[in-house]
């Protein structure tokens, strides 16, 4: 059984990836780190994602070892510097 999670990308991430959302199928018991590794493993342009991105699961900041469940919303919070 795979676990579908709903990923969201904002600002520079959205621009560089060319998409604002993506559903990713993960193995049972997968964590945020597994999701990041799965995406980065797709190569360009997903390899622009940092290894330790700031991520919110269901609108709460999450550590990399946080487990993901079916239907979770994972938002990649982009670093933004402009002022």
């Amino acid at each position: 059984m795979s676990v579908p999670v709903h990923t969201l990308f904002f600002a520079a991430y959205r621009d560089r990836l060319g998409l604002s959302e993506l559903t990713v199928e993960l193995a049972q018991g997968a964590t945020v780190a597994d999701l990041v590794a799965e995406l980065r493993g797709r190569g360009s342009p997903f390899d622009i994602l940092p290894e330790q991105p700031a991520v919110a699961v269901n609108r709460t900041y999450a550590m990399l070892d946080e487990p993901l469940g079916a239907g979770d919303e994972v938002a990649f919070i982009p670093p933004v510097a402009g002022g």
């Binding site: 520079a12 360009s44 342009p45 622009i48 940092p50 700031a54 919070i77 510097a81 002022g83």
Partner: protein, 388 residues
Amino acid sequence: MDHPELSRSELHRYARHIALPEVGLEGQLRLKAGRVLCVGAGGLGSPLALYLAAAGVGTIGIVDFDDVDASNLQRQILHGTGDVGRHKLDSAADRLEDVNPHVEVVGHPQRLTSENALEILKGYDVVVDGTDNFPTRYLVNDACVLLGTPNVYGSVFRWEGQVSVFATKGGPCYRCLFREPPPPGLVPNCAEGGVLGVLPGIIGSMQAMETIKLLLGKGVGLAGRLLIFDALEMTWREIALRRNPECPVCSDSPTQTGLIDYELFCGVTRPGEGSLHSAEDFEELDAASVAALLASDTPPYLIDVREPWEWAVSSLAERGARLIPLAELGDRLGEVPKETPVVVYCRSGQRGQSAARQLVAGGYGPVSNLSGGLLSWAESVEPGLPVV
């Protein structure tokens, strides 16, 4: 009769504040006693400083070393057309004095550095981060954590903004959220990526509001919450933040107890400066050297890594440049000949460094970057070349 600490004209000026139960006379006196440092007098710092001054915040410090440029005016409403070419601090002081002569504006005409940050920040109750680059954001955060001063954070990119309050007692800090700086080149700055002028107006006004709430000690602040604003969709997304128990600066047992070299930390170099990555296998060439190479019998392969709209305004196309925006370079490496020396350039030299690194990693070479970018080219080789 004058109130002991607010003059008759101040009482009149602040009447709509004093009418609020959450402010009142006591709150207005708190604002008058308040000392706020604005880091940056740009897009965010403009509405921020204007509203703080109008609100009667007694001491407003501003750190900025830039001059007003005409391209600032689309968003930096603190400055006017007649201020172009003036120091931003002079322009800001005049404008704020006009907005409210009862407040004191303190200028810090410096670049904030690890050497001067603690000294500059320590006299203030609240620090507001309105800077435009990652090294200064990490510097401001760490200095605020060390001093125990709240850091009212805002940042903008194109149509999107973020706002939060960091480094309050027990609350998370910027480093809890963004542990590592992004790799150079991932996030374009406003000059490269553009920004809709109203956006910093909205985010900077939110920062002003949070600052005033902190001074008053009223309401529910943004500590522990990050708001992400999307102006195109006109939505706000709220993210609950957490303190990272292993945060190097704000955890209970921090591994970093002083300020560090933030340029090095973020892996960036300033325009015109040599690369900090001395081990890297590309060369920084000044504009005159690049011009000489291009005029030689064996000119290098010249790549412009800026965005198409920048290219449309001016480029070195007549000298053989091809446009490959930095974001596309990885996918278009095949277009670059392997047997020829390559020179890359951008606007100020920073994207060129990222491109040069990619080319070196891809086995191209010898690779050089036009140091200081097209800006320095326009300064020394082709005066009058418009560069946006």
